[in-house]
Amino acid sequence: MSAPYAKLPAWADYGLIPLINLTVAFLVAGLVVLLVGENPFRAAAILIDGALGRGQGIAYTLYYATSFIFTGLAVAVAFHCSLFNIGGEGQAYVGGLGVALVALTFDQILPWWLTFPLAIIGAAVFGAAWAFIPAYLQAKRGSHIVITTIMFNFIAASLMIYLLVNVLKPATSQAPQTRTFLEGAHLPKLNWILEAVGLSVRSAPFNLTFLLALVAAFLVWVLIWRTKLGYEIRMRGHSPKAARYAGVSETRIIIVTMLVSGGLAGMMALNPIMGDQYRLHVDFVTGAGFVGIAVALMGRSHPAGIVPAAILFGMLYQGGAELAFEMPGISRDMIVIIQGLVIMFAGALEHMFRPSLQTLFASFSPRSVGAQPSEEGRA
């Protein structure tokens, strides 16, 4: 018996369902705010105002979103091959090493626009290299990539602390960080774009990497849907048996996919390191690798979904920071709870409202759910 499966129209699939999930997440988050004795409506107003109310807030929101676009794309590319790359955090961290090495080497001799492409390569290569080992273990030894990438996050953290403390730290400094880069490794800010539309930005780290992230999103779309490699990645992602049948080497496709994924995660490091801090320091990733998972889930692994999802999480980060500042009852951890709820409803419970919505659509307009009258569908 063929399972009765009603499909939703694209706008409902990609628009309505995330919106419903988000609304529910905020309702539950509102209950949590109520529980600690604050007014959830005021909290929401502060959060949104903090994220979007002023030029300054918008610039920060976009700065955070930039990082999340990269890590979201990284997770999404792996998803298309049905690999769950939880290692974005570690890959981005090690990617930072690539950025720092390029910057420290060239910031005295090259202008930023020559350092930047080299740093992109450094970030991608180091991120990819960090993803290669779990990929190899999965492809050749069958070690589950979820486990290995999680472990590699810890290894990356320890490795980076070791390198920062023992190798990269200037002898005269007490802090576990590299020296500050010179002008040749400072990326230009993009705040002028916001100022051009009449918003005022005092000083925010919104920088050129944002545009690179948008380019990366487009290139990921091309890769997945318009190249032979992407076709093979999706083939293996949907059906490993079909990929074997088609003669697509599982080992090769797993490794290549993870290299791309790791490379994208690594490029996240450009944003804080060359765009904001101008030095490599401990824990600069601050969870962006994990947020990338939520972004990819919420964006349905499609770049056109990932960019808005990343901006949404950028808002939560920026608005959340304002909220923690404004409302004494709400600490930084409360913000993490709210983000967690969004992740839970957008990601883990993604399918919770789908069946009832499908029934609803099917009863209103059968045509819109793509159902074929039985006569048409038969030989």
Partner: protein
């Protein structure tokens, strides 16, 4: 007229725009075997799922034993004495027969009493119906026929008076099927009512008292089995006259295009699935491999086509040897002229979430005509897909539609079109008509004969004995990983059935 065990009146069920059941009236007399026949997608399973409480009808009435009932779930159905034996068994593999039988019907938190009660009940059922199974046997170690018996026991243990069997013979040898039919008759004699869902006309004629035919969601006819004939039922099922026999001329075999030498294959657990198998297929002939599912046919196909590695053995493809133990690669074999219609259309032959056009090049996607450098040439891919859609009459005709939205027959046509349009030398075909409606079966069979007549070597593996017998020029029978006999197409079903059951093994090996 006998009293009705189940009566359906005006049952309607829609899934979106699909009207799966329309105004179904059906009366199943108590103490009879009632066959329900129809093509895939005719709505048989939906109707049975409504009776068993998996779905609720949009409108209509169900009467059991004369009383109008609401069946909201399978537990309601069980309480009304309705039992179901599913096509895919619902058994816990590593449990014993007894544990499976009491699963979900335990009478207390501690299993001791339930088990004791079940044991004596099983003994009674065994006595009354000849349903012998060792209660302590682990289910996965039982042959399929016995696993099915466990399913029947489960239903009877729950007090079923009405037993619904969904395509029960799909996995059985002819002799196992005969045994099942004996059990069904016995159950009938004891007063049970049996509903048999099938698409095999022969089974209907063999075992049922009454037969109802479904077509496109509607109940088109009910007949007394004794007063109808296979031809009439087939016509009712499809809605037009069908050729049940395949028309084909003499084979004109040419040179050897495919030779398999001493092929041995083990599965991941190290169990030998194909055991030193050798055979040839010549140009212009169809060689059929008959056998009950699970006797190594799948592994044989996958190894010849390079998907699985062999322990030993090779093939000669149009004069060129290919070592199957090493780097035999499906892509390379394709380039050398081997096309493969795999058994598992849903997971291997197609990627169901892909657009139809993307599947129309699966495996051949490295060919230059589909590419512009590393990029896909979307226009060329779609043009190629539209071309195949037209040639093979694939419906719907939109190559951008998801493949999952095509019917089984049309999905199979997508695979056939892809493989046949490559103009291969050797065509390897597994279960070409599984889950395919009668109309498409006719088309597929005709295409396979065409391929033969064009001088291709065709290797056909099917568990449908009728299909093997009507298409093949030579029949090889596979049992327990070995070829246990070769027969001509005129071999009787009984003879092949015995070989398939491994009975004549010694004799045939000589």
């Amino acid at each position: 007229m006998a009293e009705a065990a189940i009566e359906l009146a005006g049952i309607n069920k829609r899934f979106g725009a699909v009207h799966a059941n329309r105004d179904i009236d059906l009366k199943i007399e108590a103490g009879t075997i009632h066959g329900i026949i129809g093509e895939n997608g005719a709505g048989k399973s939906t109707l049975m799922s409504i009776i068993y409480g998996f779905y609720q009808a949009d409108s209509g009435e169900i009467r059991v034993g004369g009383n109008s009932v609401q069946i909201q779930s399978s537990s309601d159905a069980i309480a009304l004495g309705i039992g179901m034996v599913h096509q895919h068994f619902m058994l816990v593999h590593n449990f014993t027969v007894l544990e499976n039988v009491i699963l979900g019907a335990e009478s207390a938190p501690l299993l001791g009493t339930s088990i004791a009660r079940a044991r004596s009940e099983l003994e009674r059922l065994e006595r009354e119906y000849g349903l012998e199974v060792d209660p302590e046997a682990i289910v996965e170690e039982l042959p399929v026929g016995l696993q099915q018996r466990v399913e029947i026991l489960k239903a009877l243990y729950r007090g079923a008076d009405i037993l619904i069997l969904d395509e029960p013979t799909g996995v059985l040898t002819p002799s196992e099927a005969d045994h099942l039919f004996r059990i069904l008759r016995q159950l009938k004699d004891e007063g049970k009512t049996i509903v048999l869902i099938t698409h095999k006309l022969r089974e209907i004629m063999a075992v049922t008292d009454n037969v109802s035919v479904m077509r496109q969601g509607a109940m088109v006819a009910t007949r007394k089995t004794a007063e109808t004939a296979v031809e009439e039922l087939a016509e009712l099922m499809v809605g037009r006259r069908v050729l049940l026999r395949v028309e084909k001329g003499e084979a004109k075999p040419g040179g050897f295009l495919l030779s398999v030498h001493n092929l041995t294959v083990r599965d991941s657990r190290g169990v030998t699935m194909v055991d030193n198998v050798s055979f040839d297929v010549r140009a212009g002939e169809i060689v059929g491999i008959a056998g009950v599912a699970g006797n190594g046919q799948s592994e044989l196909l996958e190894t010849i086509t390079g998907i699985r590695k062999a322990v030993s053995g090779s093939v000669t493809l149009d004069g060129e040897p290919v070592d199957l133990t090493g780097e035999a690669d499906p892509a390379d074999l394709r380039r050398r002229g081997m096309a493969h219609v795999p058994e598992d259309r849903h997971h291997m032959g197609l990627v169901l979430p892909f657009e139809e056009g993307e599947n129309a090049m699966l495996g051949y996607h490295r060919q230059e005509k589909y590419l512009k450098g590393p990029f896909l040439d979307i226009e060329a891919i779609r043009a190629d897909a539209r071309d195949k859609i037209e040639k093979y009459d694939i419906r719907p005709t939109d190559c951008r539609l998801k493949t999952a939205n095509f019917s089984g027959g049309n999905q199979q046509k997508i695979v056939l079109a892809r493989e046949m349009e490559q103009d291969p030398k050797v065509l390897i075909v597994g279960q070409p008509t599984r889950g395919v409606d009668v109309g498409a079966i006719e088309f597929i069979h005709k295409r396979l004969i065409d391929m033969r007549d064009q001088g291709k070597a065709v290797l056909l593996v099917s568990v449908e004995l009728d299909e093997i017998r009507s298409l093949s020029d030579r029949i090889l029978v596979m049992f327990a990983g070995r070829i246990v006999g070769e027969r001509g197409p005129e071999a009787s079903e009984g003879e092949l059935g015995l070989l398939m059951a491994g009975v004549e093994e010694k004799e045939a090996a000589e």
